[in-house]
Amino acid sequence: MSNAPKSSERVARGPGANNRNRFAKPKNAKGTFLRLLGYFKRYKAILAVVVVCIIVAALANVAGTALLRPLVDDYISPMLKEGATPERWNAFGGQILKMAIVYIAGIICVYVNARLMINVSTGVLLDIRKEMFAKMQKLPIKYFDSRTHGEIMSRYTNDTDAMREMLGQSIPNLIDSLFRVSGVFIMMIVLSPALTVVTVVMLVLMILVVKNLGKKSGAFYKKRQAALGVANGYIEEMSEGSKVVKVFCREEKIDSNFAVLNDNLRRAEAGANTWASILMPIMGNLSYIQYAITALLGTLMVVAGLNGNYPALVTLSAGALVSFLQYTRNFSRPITMMSQQFNSILSALAGAERIFALIDEEPEPNEGTVKLVNAGIRDGELYECSERTDIWAWKSPDGTLTRVRGHVCFNNVTFSYDGEKVVLDDISLYAKPGQKIAFVGSTGAGKTTITNLINRFYDIQEGEITYDGFNIREIEKDSLRRSLAMVLQDTHLFTGTVRENIRYGRKDATEEEIVRAAKLANAHSFIMHLPQGYDTMIVDDGENLSQGQRQLLAIARAAVADPPVLILDEATSSIDTRTEALIEKGMDELMNGRTVFVIAHRLSTVRNSNAIMVLEHGKIIERGDHRELIAQKGRYYKLYTGAFELS
């Protein structure tokens, strides 16, 4: 009777939970399980109470049924045969009271157990989620490159969800079932070893059925998952491309394609669902068959007992039969439940394994020891200070300070993402403090890669990159990145207000600094036009803003960070040229006194750089300022004059 509807679980499942592979097997179930147990250490005391509760609840369940037997044999039958005296009635009432007490004790334990367990299981989940996220933040960019977002997301959704189900339901139920089954089994042996043999035979039969059905079900389930993946993929693709579909009048074609995929899914699903749902009626009715056989044999044994000519082993009292039949009903249900829980525990462990794999990933190396500090100048000497000045210094481990100037050099740098295909081939370049260096070239030429190397999103294989004379490997990573502000090609904003998004550049920026940065980026006027101005919420990566507006905010965000070096990677690509001309003044101010790396498709953006590098296939093929490059009449000249070719 412990299978009360757990509708909560249904509600709690998020989208995608249906796609969880219920038949996944962990590689190392034992190791994963033990490691998972480690998270429970904090709750040792509570768990001890929980275990006691489970045992008491299970015992109460068995004992309650055990009290039923004497009720008939020792209390009711005597009254029938020998008359009902008040003493007999009192004894009968006493027995009923005993039953009630036992049941209530069990119920209290069930509640206490559940109440304590939700604290434990949600606590463990919280710890795991926290650990996973903190770890994720420390992983190198490479980790994210090699996995889809969906894949990592499912650690947080499907895998933790499966774990939640396991901790909150499967494991407690499994333990509960185990106690019940063993308690009932012992009572059965006590009552009648002969009839217990029938139970054991049926039990073996049931286990065989579950095993075989499980195998069949698993095979069909795999098929269903494959069909589901294809159909859902199609739905996703065509929903995203629905405008293209309409422009090309492909509606009917798409529709008939989908009908085919949908029908495949229907077939596969019908198979999988059949095998999944056939288990319950088969198990339930097998237990009825067992029930019937037991009743028949039991009655025969009772009759045999009345005859008195048979050995005690094959005889039974009427009360014992009633109890035994009750036990029989209580026996099969936990067995069916255990078999189901076993699968869900295995798949949850497989999920836990994936979560632990993430937690065990190698974090980003951070061997550097040189730190970025605020500095001031007194009598021509640098000194460290805590408040923000416009002067920065590199602090070596021995305490010496070096002023940050923004002098970046690449010396014979060679880099490959995968160790095979060379993306940057023997690049050497330098940016003197305050210079503006531009990179031009076609997609895939390696422009963005160069900037990704400066902030050590990736580590180079050969050569060295120096920053104010330090190899960037010597600089602590956070300090290195804090000294660089980036406006990236894909501007991403975060859920929060416009103000919070600008402040992302620097936590302690004042209101004036934020507005000043917004004005610098020419974002102030459109922000003031938003419904709540700076307090307007940005949702879904800035879906409510145009791409150009997002870029303006990203520029403001970088401006507020106010670092010595600025990297602009296609920062103005979505801003129309008129607006770009408008923000030029602000950009000039932003770039003033800083070393700036600019990547742009639009040559008008890079024209006034101190040096322009033209990249192709990972090599610098031309370098110089605008005039020099035009005079060279090489690739840059061609690119630049492409616009004029036809006029």
């Binding site: 629905s242 990236l488 605008h626 070719e645």
Partner: protein, 579 residues
């Protein structure tokens, strides 16, 4: 609301009814078994001289019934699976077809993500509900009624216990659920918030790292994870009452039956075997009450899914070509706007395009420029009738666009959208969207015109290269060129390029335009561009500002007469003067 979903049962009505019938058979048999057992035990225990053949008959009958119940149950599982999956498949087809009928305006209303959710998660939820309905409702209702009936037959007085226990249990379960449901909704919201946070960090991991925000992000993640835990605790704290309270009623019923049953037995109103049967009925009746309340709860829980699905089915399609002339085809590429106003919200006070009039002759090349938000895209989308004008008329080939069948119109007006997409499959598969029956030469010619042929041939599998996951990677510019080639394959009378070469370098851009002019001589071309060079060689250029057509003239004259055009020109060209 749920009635709207009934048509999806079509073709699976037999299975649904069959499943329900089988489950009734199973249910009745399951009740009969304990009833027979009562008789059996009575025979064995209470009759002074037990009749062996009666015992064996009853016993054999019980076993036989259990076997039949097993078969009926298995058959029901199969039929219910077929019916449920069939129902879901029909529902998906209905939804998918409806979505295909959507106009752009309909599509804008639902995000693509929400359409996907409706077609996947929501359909699965409804499918589960449907299966539960046909399997559980009938079965448990039958079990509850029959068992109650038998209980009365055995002893009407004792059956009063159920009259108390059933409503009590149902009430408790429903109250718990009604209280817990909003808490779980709250928990789901918190979970969405937390997941959104993770997703955001995944998408923007480079920004997070570049600004050294890892620790701040971790702190705020911990906040949302803790909030989720709190919400989950609040919800679970209610639900955990479920088990102990149901057990309380169940055991309470057992105690009551034992106590009053004992009295009745002693009084001679009931046999000992009857008591055993009664105890079995307690389990059956109360667990079917629980199951029934679960059906009810599932119904409540899936209400949101039901609503979302019906929303799609009920959506009014705002563009229809029912009154169009099926014979009419686009004769030439002339395009004329007459006093066209347009509003996305269909509100005359909130116009996106205001009173636009112009006439373009067949074969002209028209450039369109204007700042962000000047409604360039809106204007061209009216030509293939992707949206409906609010007032005025759009004419293509001398006829109002409403007079054409949509298929006839859009076949001849090719549009390369700003946010363009290629689909999984080979390059050739994608190109064939333009023309299913295109020959190899036609495909190559279109790709040459779009400057795509050379890079396609540089892939190891050429036109057969796979664009899906694990296939070749195409850059933004290459993708745009494939999209142009795909549109050209339609052999259109009007081609619209909506910022379609923005990721191509200027030289490629120029040679595409050159090819369009020479290869598609009679075709009218509209080119929306940010780059002034892209429109400088057009026959005429439209300058849009804030939804109004402010100038429409040759580029040369615009340079003299129009300030916006001149500003854009100078912002992009001033470096050129120095060269």
């Amino acid at each position: 609301m749920i009635r709207k979903l009934f048509p999806a049962i079509k073709g699976y009505g037999k299975h649904s009814v069959g499943a329900s019938l089988m489950i009734i058979v199973e249910g009745v048999l399951e009740i009969l078994i304990p009833y027979l057992m009562t008789k059996l035990i009575k025979q064995g225990i209470e009759v002074p001289d037990p009749n062996m053949s009666v015992i064996l008959t009853y016993g054999g009958l019980m076993i036989l019934m259990a076997i039949f119940a097993l078969l009926a149950g298995a058959l029901c599982a199969r039929l219910a699976a077929v019916a449920g999956t069939g129902f879901a498949a029909n529902l998906r087809n209905m939804l998918f077809r409806k979505v295909q009928d959507f106009s752009f305006a309909n599509t804008d209303k639902f995000s693509s993500a929400s359409i996907v959710t409706r077609l996947t998660t929501d359909v699965t939820n409804i499918q589960n509900l449907f299966t539960i309905l046909i399997r559980m409702t009938v079965r448990n209702f039958i079990i509850m009624i029959t068992a109650f009936f038998f209980a009365i037959a055995v002893n009407a007085k004792l059956a009063i216990v159920f009259a108390v226990a059933i409503p009590l249990l149902a009430a408790i379960l429903l109250i718990i659920m009604i209280k817990a449901h909003p808490m779980f909704e709250k928990m789901l919201t918190k979970m969405d918030l937390m997941n959104a946070r993770v997703q955001e960090n995944l998408i923007a991991i480079r920004v997070v790292k570049a600004f050294v925000k890892g620790e701040d992000e971790t702190v705020s993640f911990e906040d949302s994870a803790t909030a989720l835990r709190k919400a989950q605790l609040a919800a679970e704290r209610i639900v955990i009452w479920n088990n102990p309270l149901s057990q309380l009623i169940f055991y309470g019923a057992i105690i009551a039956v034992c106590f009053f049953g004992g009295k009745l037995i002693v009084a001679g109103d009931m046999g000992i075997g009857d008591l055993t049967g009664f105890l079995a009925y307690i389990g059956q009746i109360l667990s079917s009450v629980m199951m029934l309340s679960m059906v009810f709860i599932s119904f409540i829980i899936t209400r949101a899914s039901q609503k979302r699905i019906v929303e799609i089915l009920d959506e009014k399609i705002d563009i229809s070509d029912d009154d169009a002339d099926p014979e009419l085809s686009v004769a030439d590429g002339s395009v004329e706007f007459e006093n066209v106003s347009f509003s996305y919200s269909k509100n005359p006070d909130n116009l996106t395009l205001t009173n636009v009039s112009f006439k373009v002759n067949a074969g002209e090349t028209i450039g369109i420029i204007g700042g962000t938000g000047s409604s360039k895209t809106t204007l061209v989308q009216l030509i293939p009738r992707l949206y409906e004008v609010l007032s005025g008329s759009v004419r293509v080939g001398g006829h109002d666009v409403c007079e054409y069948k949509l298929h006839a119109l859009r076949d001849k007006v090719a549009m390369v959208l700003q946010t363009n997409l290629l689909f999984s499959g080979t390059i050739e598969d994608n190109l064939r969207w333009g023309n299913e029956d295109a020959t190899g030469e036609q495909i190559e010619a279109a790709c040459r015109a779009a400057c795509a042929h050379d890079f396609i041939m540089s892939f190891p599998n050429g036109y057969k290269s796979d664009l899906g996951q694990g296939g070749v990677n195409v850059s933004g510019g290459q993708k745009q060129r494939l999209c142009i080639a795909r549109a050209l394959l339609k052999d259109p009378k009007v081609v619209i390029l909506d910022d379609s070469t923005s990721a191509c370098d200027t030289a490629t851009d120029a040679s595409i335009r050159k090819a369009l002019r020479t290869e598609l001589k009679g075709t009218t071309t509209f080119i929306i561009a940010q780059r002034i060079a892209s429109v400088m060689d057009a026959d005429r250029v439209m300058v849009l500002d804030d939804g109004k057509l402010v100038a429409f003239d040759t580029p040369k004259r615009l340079l003299e007469t129009n300030e916006i055009y001149r500003e854009v020109y100078e912002s992009q060209m001033k470096g050129g003067d120095e060269a």
